[in-house]
């Protein structure tokens, strides 16, 4: 092997740079890394959505590390794959908490997986940060819920549909599991309170995508608005069939609680144009903070067409809430995080969020978006400020009569 001078210099420079690199990084971070878990499905049917959420968490951690870490220590993410299976989720949660001794895990997407890991977090005293909007009806001292509960999606939505859109007859449709059924329960109360009525509530198997009969039923029912709690890829087949059977979003709009930028992109924007969704966050929110968030996310996942949506934003900002809680208590234990996170406020891409001191759910701003021909939403209604999360609103919980407090769930109220 013959070296010429230029090549030798190049090699030497590379080698010395490589040698210097660990020294540089150890100067930046003198201490051991703080380990946190990220528990999402990397494989299986739910991986499409959950990989995006994992990306939200990873991006937040990368940004925190670039800005100096937490308590002067870098954050290291231990990624585990829940494989779209609740049983695997619970095994991997045990592994993270017991074997890796990690006190904080970001993760879970479905209620089924959250319910599967909950006993482990409660028994072993660890904290779960859960970002998905869900059906409420849960009060755990070991979970920080950064997604919306029904009152943050429906309490403005139903009255608005009745008053502003002038709709009186609701057809409620959903996938057949706990979230759509609980959402239907809350909606029915609100529909009746708003002076309208519901003509049917129908469910389709989870993941089912044959809508011919259901859409024809909607057509025959005499309903003037559809409230959709359908989830996953069934959504795409639903909106396509809706248009293909000649129903129009102007006459009979679909008002959804799950349909987000992701599903709109996957179905083709022309099928959703004119329909509505209620979420605390939309990609179209026109603030510099949100624009920067979208740009950074697209760079992070290396996809210039990537879309952001509610759960992704929540997956991202919950990491910062955790950081603030840790820095406030100066301790990594579950008890310290729980104490530190009460009332913690953060300026998220979609606006201000606050962790409720009572039930550890987040204060969020309900917004209603109408989908446009370009696949983005136009925010047609929004609360002026974040509202208090009430996970038991279906059972009569109000701001002055809390069921879930910092002492835990008051079960007596639930029965009454």
């Amino acid at each position: 092997m013959v070296f010429n001078r230029r090549e030798f210099l190049k090699t030497a420079a590379t080698a010395s740079a490589a040698l210097a690199l660990p020294a540089l990084s150890s100067r930046a971070f003198a201490a051991d890394p703080i380990k946190v878990g990220a528990l999402y499905s990397q494989t299986g049917g739910l991986s499409v959505a959950e990989k995006l959420l994992a990306n939200g968490v990873m991006m937040a951690v990368a940004e925190i590390n670039a800005a100096g870490g937490v308590l002067g220590r870098p954050v290291e993410v231990v990624v585990e794959d829940g494989a779209s299976d609740p049983k695997t989720f619970s095994e991997k949660a045990s592994k993270l908490i017991l074997k890796d001794k990690i006190p904080t895990v970001f993760g879970c997407h479905t209620s089924a997986s959250r319910k599967a890991v909950l006993p482990i977090f409660e028994r072993r005293g660890a904290m779960l940060f859960y970002q998905t909007h869900y059906e409420g009806f849960e009060c755990s001292r070991n979970v920080v819920y950064s997604g919306a509960v029904p009152n943050q999606q429906l309490s403005n939505y139903i009255p608005w549909i009745v008053q502003k859109l002038g709709k009186k007859k609701f057809f409620i449709v959903g996938s057949n599991y706990v979230y759509p059924r609980e959402m239907a329960k809350v909606s029915k109360k609100l529909i009746e309170a708003a002076g309208a009525k519901w003509v049917a509530d129908e469910y389709l198997e989870l993941g089912h995508s044959e809508w011919a009969v259901m859409v024809s039923k909607i057509k025959e029912s005499g309903a003037d608005v559809v409230l959709s709690n359908v989830v996953g890829d069934s959504i795409i087949a639903f909106y396509r069939e809706f248009k293909n059977q000649g129903l129009s979003q102007e006459v009979l709009p679909i008002c959804a609680t799950v349909t987000s930028e992701i599903e709109i992109a996957a179905m083709g924007a022309e099928y959703a144009a004119g329909s509505y969704t209620s979420f605390p966050y939309f990609m179209s929110i026109d603030t510099p903070a949100n624009k920067s968030f979208i740009d950074r996310f697209r760079t992070f996942v290396n996809d210039p067409k990537a879309v952001t949506y509610h759960s992704l934003e929540a997956a991202y900002f919950q990491v910062f809430l955790w950081k603030q809680a840790v820095e406030k208590s100066g301790d990594l234990s579950a008890d310290a995080i729980r104490a530190g996170i009460r009332g913690q406020t953060y300026e998220a891409p979609g606006g201000k969020v606050t962790t409720d001191p009572d039930n550890l759910h987040c204060w969020l701003t309900p917004r209603i978006g109408q989908w446009q021909a370009d696949g983005q939403s136009k925010v047609v209604n929004a609360y002026p400020a974040p509202i208090k999360p009430l996970p038991y609103s279906a059972y009569g919980e109000t701001e002055s009569n809390l069921f879930c407090t910092s002492n835990g769930l008051d079960a007596a109220k639930l029965k009454g």
């Binding site: 494989t43 299986g44 049917g45 991986s47 499409v48 990989k51 057949n176 129908e202 469910y203 389709l204 198997e205 993941g207 089912h208 995508s209 044959e210 011919a212 009969v213 259901m214 024809s216 039923k217 890829d233 795409i236 087949a237 396509r240 069939e241 248009k243 293909n244 059977q245 000649g246 992701i262 599903e263 992109a265 996957a266 179905m267 083709g268």
Partner: protein
């Protein structure tokens, strides 16, 4: 009433679209092809990719998908299935393995982590295929609003079924296939090149699945798992109709489609699926070889 019958017909034709390819491969070769659903998935991805790369419409994607999946089918037959003839359980397992390989390949975009290849339109995300505007919406027929896209599916299915019938019953190659269905050893003894005919049959069956995939992509989401559940529906039809009988496959898919639609209109979709499976179980209890099977020799 007309619109309910139409929905039943459209459900039936989708079942037939998936079952047609299965019926001839299972009938002729006795191979339970668990990768059939993945052929449907790949057909759907051909529609996605031809839309992105060639700006081709859905109509052009149909022959493209047929060719791509038929070639893939030929490859699978040559490399794996050919070595396992007469070993029913082994082919079941092997094709199931191929199904998982194909799914993961799409999900990883041909092994993203190894080669770093990024194929636009392929990958773990949900995809969609643009449907030409004349196939969206409805048209009026005898005071009922008929769904244009579903009519299109029914027409395509009818054309494919006719083509299959023509090949099976009016060509020399079809006669060889029918001879193999009845008795492969006797057919071989009469000088039919069973291996070659089987390979062609498998390729043709796979091609039909690819076309089914293009049709599906117009109203369903395209994603790596989409084929898994379809294979069950396909076998349901084949077993009910009678193995090796084209006529039985057509009738049983129509029958199951109509039952599904009528029960779903009367009650709900979840019960309808249970009733359909109930009927299938009843049929195989009463007539174990299916409604329209041949008498074996």
């Amino acid at each position: 009433m007309l619109d309910i019958l139409f929905i039943g017909l459209s459900l039936g034709s989708i079942l037939l679209l998936v079952a047609l390819g299965l019926a001839i491969t299972y009938g002729a070769m006795g191979v339970i092809n668990m990768a059939h659903g993945e052929m449907v998935m790949i057909g759907a991805y051909v529609a996605v990719l031809s839309g992105i790369w060639l700006k081709a419409s859905l109509l052009l994607a149909i022959p493209l998908a047929f060719v791509v999946t038929a070639l893939l089918g030929l490859l699978i037959e040559r490399v794996v299935v050919r070595r396992l003839y007469g070993r029913l359980l082994d082919t079941l397992l092997a094709t199931w393995g191929i199904a998982i390989l194909l799914q993961q390949a799409v999900r990883l975009e041909f092994g993203l982590s190894f080669f770093g290849i990024h194929v636009e339109g392929l990958g773990a995300g949900l995809q969609n295929v643009a449907v030409p505007s004349y196939l969206q919406g409805t048209f009026r027929l005898a005071s009922a609003d008929i769904n244009a896209y579903r009519t299109f599916i029914i027409v395509v299915t009818a054309v494919l079924t006719l083509a299959t019938w023509f090949i099976l019953y009016r060509t020399a190659a079809g006669m060889q296939v029918r001879a193999i269905i009845r008795n492969p050893k006797m057919a071989a003894a009469c000088g039919i090149d069973v291996k070659r005919v089987n390979a062609m049959t498998f390729a043709f069956g796979s091609g039909l699945a690819g076309v089914a995939g293009v049709m599906m992509s117009g109203f369903k989401t395209v994603f790596p798992d989409m084929g898994t559940t379809m294979v069950v529906d396909g076998f349901m039809v084949v077993v009910t109709g009678g193995v090796g009988s084209l006529f039985g496959t057509i009738l049983s898919s129509g029958l199951l489609g109509e039952i599904n639609a009528l029960v779903a209109i009367g009650t709900n979709d979840i019960l309808a699926r249970a009733v359909v499976f109930g009927v299938v179980i009843l049929v195989i209890l009463v007539k174990p070889s299916g409604l329209f099977s041949f008498k074996g020799r």
